[in-house]
Amino acid sequence: MSDAAQITESAELSWRGETSSPFGVHWNKLMMWVFIVTDGLLFAGFLGGYGFARLSSPQWPDQLEVFHIGVIGLMTFILISSSATMAMAVRAASRGERTVVVRFLLMTLAGGLLFLGMQAYEWTGFIREGARLFSNPWGPPQFSSYFFVITGFHGSHVLTGATILAITAARWSKGRSSAEGIELAGLYWHFVDLVWVFIFTLFYLV
């Protein structure tokens, strides 16, 4: 084999994650990680901007007086639990346990939908109390702006994740999805949970 052919073959194997890939993963999983990092930087930008607004404002509303922290805690519990069931679905898929995978995927989907329902409830209460995108009764207008933008973007990610889960569950039950497909859907869902950990702490608690 010529040097050029060897290099080409080596590059192809690397790209498939089969030999000397620096990350040791298949290319589609690597692309999912690239997406996760870039999407994570989007949220880092939002939260960095929120930190700027918070530090530059002479006063900031007390979140405990504005939000129902019990509801937010319950939403966090639901999302964490759905992430655990998703991890179990990935595990079951790697074992080839077909019905168990569907059961865990549906539990995860139910958690996501429940989270979205509770977020809609939270948004409704917030709007009824007078919060708008550029104004609110508690003081700095940036407070409600960042609330709607950050939680809205996260909510749209949850909705996207729930849609992916529903499609993946349907495809898996028909035998048209692989264990790797479940793993990629899982990575996205865990990312949604990971982002919420930061939002929950920085926006609702700190």
């Binding site: 990971l194 950990v197 930061f198």
Partner: protein, 101 residues
């Protein structure tokens, strides 16, 4: 899934879930307790990073991937986020101290 993860059952996920739940409950209780602000913020930030690490390591299987992938993802996100914040934070503090006529 890659090396190592095939050796674990569901138990590792239950333990990770319990850790996350315990940390979340602790954060909520601390937030409502009478703890000094700097201490509270420090504890909350540490707990947040621990939770993120548990999710990344066990749910996203970074613990079982090659170290290079875990480093690129973890360090890349955290360092970029930290740089972003610490570059703009001084300006935010400066603006808050400006008195407008």
């Amino acid at each position: 899934m890659t090396k190592g993860s095939s050796e674990t059952g569901y138990g590792v996920y239950w333990r990770a879930w319990l850790v996350l739940l315990a940390l979340t409950l602790m954060m909520i209780f601390l937030d409502q307790a009478s703890v000094s602000r700097p201490v509270l913020v420090s504890i909350l930030l540490i707990a947040m990073l621990v939770k993120a690490s548990v999710i990344g390591a066990y749910f996203m299987h970074l613990r079982f991937e090659k170290l290079s992938l875990a480093l690129v993802v973890g360090v890349g996100l955290l360092v970029t986020g930290a740089i972003l914040f610490f570059f703009i934070a001084p300006d935010a503090v400066r603006i808050s101290r400006i008195s407008f006529p």
